[in-house]
């Protein structure tokens, strides 16, 4: 065995899924980090032990999907405490959540539902980010959502909303480049202008993922179930040029491929980093 060899290497990580755990533990591929959905590790399952095992070799990023920071009600304190307990065990390199809501009045809908972008929702969202950062004892990165609907009442462009949240709360931004592409395509805005509107100093991580086209309605769906699409790689290069060498995650959550396919995607992202470094 080659224990002691530095495994963590580079700036690109992959989402960790159960079917790949043994292979990663055995092959110990060179990766910048591993990222998991925090909610999948809040129970005392053997999966948590395996994650803590891999944590010895790789930095881990905890990506929350259910804190529901945009809910027009109190944050779920119990969930916040479970998240905090997990952070204490995993000691993650990054902790992130979403600009979205997913639970209201006791029902958790397991989706990242959109907020109207208004002064009122901005105040509420910032209060919740403050409360979450206080409760978790960690700075959060907030991810831009992929959207399929916009509200008539929205008055603030999303990138401006994200920027204001970062400005008021001190949180960072997780820029999901695929989400920018998906939303830009669905609503017909310029994705590069969106990237340009985000504050460089706040960007703490980039997500890359695949999407699919819902032919019947002519909409892009962010399903994390395919290779990163060509236009998204192009947008990623632009993001790296603007934001610098930001840690990047390859997300793949449905139609899970072999580990080799994921690692190839990660290598592709590393090449983009090198290309931008050289330039």
């Amino acid at each position: 065995m080659t224990r002691g060899r530095p495994i963590a290497s580079g700036r690109v990580g992959i989402g960790l899924h159960l079917p790949h755990v043994s292979e990663i533990a055995a092959a110990r591929p060179r990766l910048g980090f591993l990222e998991v959905h925090a909610e999948n590790y809040m129970a005392e399952t053997p999966a948590l032990d395996r994650l803590l095992g891999l944590r010895r070799d790789y930095p881990v990023s905890l990506h929350g999907v259910a804190l529901s920071l945009g809910s027009a009600e109190r944050l779920d304190h119990c969930h916040l405490m479970r998240f905090k307990a997990l952070i204490e065990r995993v000691e993650p390199m990054l902790v992130s959540e979403h600009l979205a809501w997913s639970a209201i009045s006791g029902a958790y809908l397991n989706d990242l539902l959109p907020l109207p972008y208004t002064e009122a929702s901005l105040d509420l969202f910032c209060r919740h980010v403050d409360e979450a950062q206080e409760g978790l004892g960690r700075r959060l990165l907030i991810e831009n959502p992929s959207s399929y609907l916009r509200y008539r009442d929205s008055t603030i462009p999303e990138a401006e909303f994200m920027t204001e949240v970062a400005h008021r709360t001190g949180c960072g931004i997780l820029c999901d480049v695929n989400n920018v592409h998906v939303s830009a395509s669905n609503f017909g805005f310029d994705p590069l202008a969106y990237l340009d509107a985000l504050p460089i100093e706040a960007i703490g991580e980039i997500h890359l993922a695949g999407h699919r086209v819902a032919e019947d309605v002519g909409i892009l769906i962010d399903d994390h179930g395919a290779r990163v699409a060509e236009p998204v790689w192009g947008l990623y290069a632009a993001a790296l040029r603007r934001f610098g060498p930001v840690p990047t995650l390859i997300e793949w959550d449905t139609n899970l491929p072999t580990l080799e396919v994921l690692l190839n995607e990660a290598r592709h992202a590393e090449e983009a980093h090198r290309y931008v470094d050289a330039a």
Partner: protein, 300 residues
């Protein structure tokens, strides 16, 4: 502040409308708030609705794979859909979703031709609990032995949090096991019921059939009854029930993790210490609290 309250109630109302549209499918209340952007707003809501139902349905299928196999995937998706509408998850951890799915199936008329289906769901839920709850450090038998003999009958034990006790008139474990194979072997449904103990052992989930006396004893302990009451329950099922043997097994199998009721734990420890220090002392205060007596009388 009043303005903020108004804004919040507007946002809350919007979110409640979208919740009703996602869960109930009636988009009438929400469409006016959504921009068309070249597509029917209801179709836009449908994308979120589809995602919520697909992923939550998948979560249920992961927790209840044999139920799904018994009814086939399409029917399971239909049952899951109805369940989701009526019982959306409270917990944001999906492994914790489905606690009352078995009760739902028991009342779900389209399933009435499969009378054992709800119990298969109960069994799979117990397996899920055991898979998601870790083992606690077991209590040593000496701790109980240190309690004065006259008091031990009124001690309650707290058992491993991963434990479930579950009895069915159907051979649920056999049905479950048979459905692990590609080709399901025939199961004799008339072969009788099963009284099962399901628990976590290290990284594994284990289950076993218990004899009626042991099952009644352990179920009573799990329900928080004191030893005397648990013994009474066991003897009722099995007149030859042997408390000493049964207790030894509870401890040797690492089932007990603490004394019951946090309030009484310190008193038990105190009694145990008293006995070690002054073996002949008569106890001044009585340990048998009203609660314990109530447990006892419930058994009668």
């Amino acid at each position: 502040m009043p303005k903020r309250r108004t804004d919040m109630s507007t946002l809350l109302e919007l979110q409640m409308r979208l919740r009703r549209a996602v869960l109930g499918g009636d988009t009438g209340e929400i469409v006016a708030a959504i921009q068309g952007d070249g597509l029917d707003p209801a179709a836009r809501v449908g994308i979120y609705r589809h995602h919520a139902f697909t992923t939550l349905g998948d979560a249920l299928q992961t927790t209840f794979p044999v139920v799904c196999r018994l009814v086939d995937k399409r029917f399971f998706a239909y049952a899951a859909h109805e369940y989701l509408r009526q019982h959306p998850p409270h917990s944001r951890c999906l492994v914790e979703y489905g606690a009352d799915f078995a009760d739902f199936l028991a009342r779900f008329t389209p399933c009435e031709k499969l009378p054992y289906l709800a119990d298969v769901a109960r069994f799979e839920w117990a397996l899920n609990i055991a898979a998601t709850v870790g083992e606690a450090a077991p209590l040593h038998a000496e701790t109980l032995a240190a309690i004065p003999p006259g008091k031990a009958a009124y001690v309650a034990l707290r058992l491993q949090p991963s434990l479930s006790y579950f009895a069915s008139p159907w051979p649920i474990d056999t049905i479950w096991q048979a459905n692990q194979a590609d080709e399901v072997p025939p199961v004799d449904l008339a072969s009788g019921g099963a009284s099962l103990e399901i628990r976590r052992v290290g990284e594994a989930v284990s289950w076993r059939r218990l004899d009626l006396g042991t099952f009644a004893f352990r179920t009573a302990l799990a329900d928080g009854l004191v030893l005397a009451a648990a013994m009474s329950a066991a003897t009722f099922k099995d007149p030859a029930f042997d408390l000493t043997v049964a207790l030894r097994q509870v401890f040797s199998e690492g089932l007990a993790v603490d004394f019951g009721r946090p309030g009484s734990t310190s008193r038990i420890r105190e009694l145990a210490t008293e006995r070690q220090e002054r073996p002949n002392s008569s106890t001044r205060s009585h340990y048998a609290t009203t609660n314990d007596m109530r447990c006892w009388s419930l058994q009668l």
